[in-house]
């Protein structure tokens, strides 16, 4: 016999809501009490360390005093190096302007009403402007700015550059590879499969090592490519393999009848893919692709291992050689973790939003 259960709650005051969600029965009530106690304990300690006893001014002596909690002064003191790396001090307006431009371009690309062919044109115009501003010259053409080599670039601008450019380049490559893996031509299918499986089987760090140590050996004598460009190529090739698998999932989800209908309308293979299959496939896998974008954004932190000073590397640059501020590295880590979190979290929320937008467009 199943014992009779109490009738469900009907009133909707906040007290009844608390009772329903936290203290519905003995088990949940006990769990709530234990969790609340734990949360309270951890929360008060964190609050005490991070806010109440924290030192906000960039003052080493005050930070080192007894009983002081977090020393956020380290951020106030070092934010230029953490955010911009080794870029020359008097020229720092340039990375700020260039990254704002890049961010604006990224934001525009997020809006569905801007998904038009001219968006690609905008990117093709925007990236040279970014590079021109950062480098001070473009293809040997002087822009009247002091030249700054790529080895001095760093911080947030580098993180943004690496992630946005590799995403922009990897996406078309991924679509081609995914189409290749679904192709009826055995040689093309084999080539694409080998590429995807090979790249997905190795860690990014080995790809980066390859880009930084081996690529110079691969190129003809006298041709040297900047390390930033080599790393960009490495991340792009790596990301494209993962994205290709996501796109392939979308291609598989397009019903067979669509391709047959396109064939009976007399569309060629390329026309079928371009006008019938890809629009449906890419829409279906957009959330998966955005997850990939987040992964790439986080993965750019690895370039610090091959000595490019993006956000994570720039923090080490700012603090490792400074004996005064080095003890407060944890606070620095928390600061950049917050930056990464803000970016990744907003991209993931954006993904949910787009998913809803697309669902509105195709009621099923």
């Amino acid at each position: 016999m199943i014992p009779a259960r109490p009738a469900p709650f009907t009133s909707a005051t906040w007290l009844s809501a608390v009772r329903q969600h936290l203290f519905a029965d003995w088990n949940t009530g006990l769990a709530s009490v234990v969790l609340l106690l734990l949360l309270g304990y951890a929360g008060t300690h964190l609050l005490d360390w991070g806010m109440l006893r924290a030192q906000w001014m960039p003052d080493v002596a005050a930070c080192r005093a007894d009983g002081v909690g977090a020393c956020w002064g380290v951020v106030a003191e070092k934010y230029r190096v953490i955010l911009l790396g080794r870029y020359p001090l008097e020229e720092q307006w340039r990375p700020v302007v260039a990254s704002s431009l890049l961010l604006a371009l990224l934001l525009v690309s997020c809006l569905r009403s801007f998904w038009r062919p001219w968006l690609a044109v905008l990117w093709l115009l925007g990236l040279p402007i970014y590079f021109g501003l950062m480098k001070g010259h473009l293809w040997g053409l002087s822009l009247g700015l002091t030249a700054v080599d790529t080895d001095r670039w760093g911080g947030l601008p580098l993180t943004l550059l690496l992630s946005s450019v590799s995403i922009a380049l990897a996406l078309p490559l991924a679509v081609l590879v995914a189409l290749g893996r679904r192709s009826e031509l055995p040689a093309i299918r084999a080539l694409c499969s080998v590429y995807v499986e090979l790249v997905r089987g190795v860690p990014l760090i080995s790809v980066l090592f390859m880009a930084s140590f081996m690529l110079p050996l691969f190129l003809p004598q006298g041709l040297t490519i900047d390390v930033l460009l080599r790393v960009l190529v490495g991340i792009t090739l790596f990301a494209a393999a993962y994205m290709a698998e996501v796109v392939r999932g979308g291609l598989q989800a397009v019903p067979r009848g669509q391709v047959e209908a396109a064939a009976s309308l007399g569309l060629s293979w390329w026309q079928t893919q371009r006008h019938v299959v890809l629009p449906q496939a890419l829409t279906a896998v957009l959330p998966g692709l955005v997850n990939n974008f987040i992964a790439i954004f986080k993965d750019t932190s690895l370039v610090t291992i091959v000595s490019l000073y993006e956000l994570t590397g720039a923090l080490g640059l700012a603090l490792n050689s400074d004996a005064d501020w080095r003890p407060f590295k944890l606070e620095g880590y928390v600061f950049i973790a917050l930056i990464y979190f803000l970016f990744c979290f907003s991209i993931s929320r954006y993904s949910l939003w787009v998913e809803r937008q697309l669902a509105l467009g195709n009621p099923s």
């Binding site: 949940t28 769990a31 860690p203 610090t304 973790a337």
Partner: protein, 312 residues
């Protein structure tokens, strides 16, 4: 069949021939450049260096390694360390991730909120940064080796976690975990658990609603329903993405190089710097990971076939 641009099969053949040609020319171009460059710079090639003495020490490993032993043995020690971290991480991340994923279905609002907050925080911060933070906390913020925190026979200090035997005849550490190992395992576990939690949540959510209602109708408690009805069915959906997470964890263990844990990538990096044989060292690392990936995929596919629904 005519070889003509007008027939689909003819075009197909031409496309394939062109693609193969491009790949072969590119391969030949890169290989000849590499051979020429290496000859120019006087770089020796070949795997013979593996049998020479390594000349560097390795801090930890399944067996003792000293600097007179060969590079090959150093690589094996590194491989052992990678496997040690990967296996520990996979077991712990599966346990924690499943708990967190199931917690998303709790009736207790607080449990649900905490589980989703955990997932959001740990997913959205780069693993490298998390590893560096754990390593900083374990290696710099803990008390010094001579004044450790003690909990029964356990001692925690900058030197790592040690199990101390206090019996009179056998003084000393029975086993010890280095701070590098602990930081790497902890970081990989907490990071991957967030992803596994999402995999488990999606798997349980995909089990048809009727199953849950049927188990409630049979009088099973929510825990019993989860344990005997929902999770076993979710398992079929969970296995392929879970395999991906295991592979990711194994590949991510290569970040050990950033905190100085002697895994196979750090050993290769050291060997590369000492011998200058970049091509060989990187090829070895890639081969190791490719083999592990393929092996894991093979094992998990076999398991997947065993638990898959037998349909006629």
């Amino acid at each position: 069949m005519r070889l003509s641009w007008r027939s689909a099969s003819g075009r197909g053949l031409l496309y394939q021939a062109a693609a193969l040609l491009v790949v072969m020319v590119l391969g030949w171009f890169l290989a000849s450049n590499t051979a020429y460059n290496m000859a120019q710079r006087g770089i020796q090639s070949g795997f013979d260096f593996l049998w020479g003495p390594a000349g560097f020490e390795i801090g930890e490993g399944l067996f003792n390694f000293d600097s007179t032993q060969s590079y090959a043995l150093a690589f094996l020690t590194g491989l052992g360390n990678t496997v040690r971290v990967a296996v520990t991480g996979i077991v712990m991340a599966t346990l924690l991730g499943t708990l967190l994923g199931v917690g998303r279905f709790s009736r207790n609002l607080l449990v649900r909120v905490l589980c989703s907050a955990y997932v959001e925080v740990f997913r959205n911060i780069p693993l490298l940064l998390q590893l560096l933070m754990w390593y900083l906390m374990l290696a710099e913020l803990l008390p010094a080796v001579d004044t450790p925190m003690t909990l029964g026979p356990l001692e925690l200090s900058k030197g790592g976690l040690m199990w101390i035997s206090r019996s009179a005849h056998e003084e000393g550490a029975l086993w010890a975990l280095s701070p590098e190992f602990m930081a790497l395992t902890l970081g990989l576990t907490l990071y991957t658990a967030a992803f596994i939690a999402e995999v488990v949540r999606a798997g349980v959510a995909a089990v048809p609603r009727g199953q849950k209602e049927a188990s409630a109708a049979l009088g099973l408690s929510r825990l019993q329903a989860m344990r005997h009805v929902l999770l076993p069915q979710a398992l079929r959906i969970i296995i392929p993405p879970m395999t991906n997470q295991y592979l990711n964890l194994t590949k991510n263990s290569s970040l050990a190089v950033a905190i100085g844990y002697p895994d196979v990538v750090s050993i290769a990096n050291t060997a590369l710097n000492q011998t200058g044989r970049a091509v060989e060292c990187i090829a070895l690392v890639m081969a190791v990971y490719l083999c592990t990936s393929l092996l894991t995929a093979l094992l998990m596919n076999a398991y997947n076939r065993r638990v898959a629904l037998q349909e006629r």
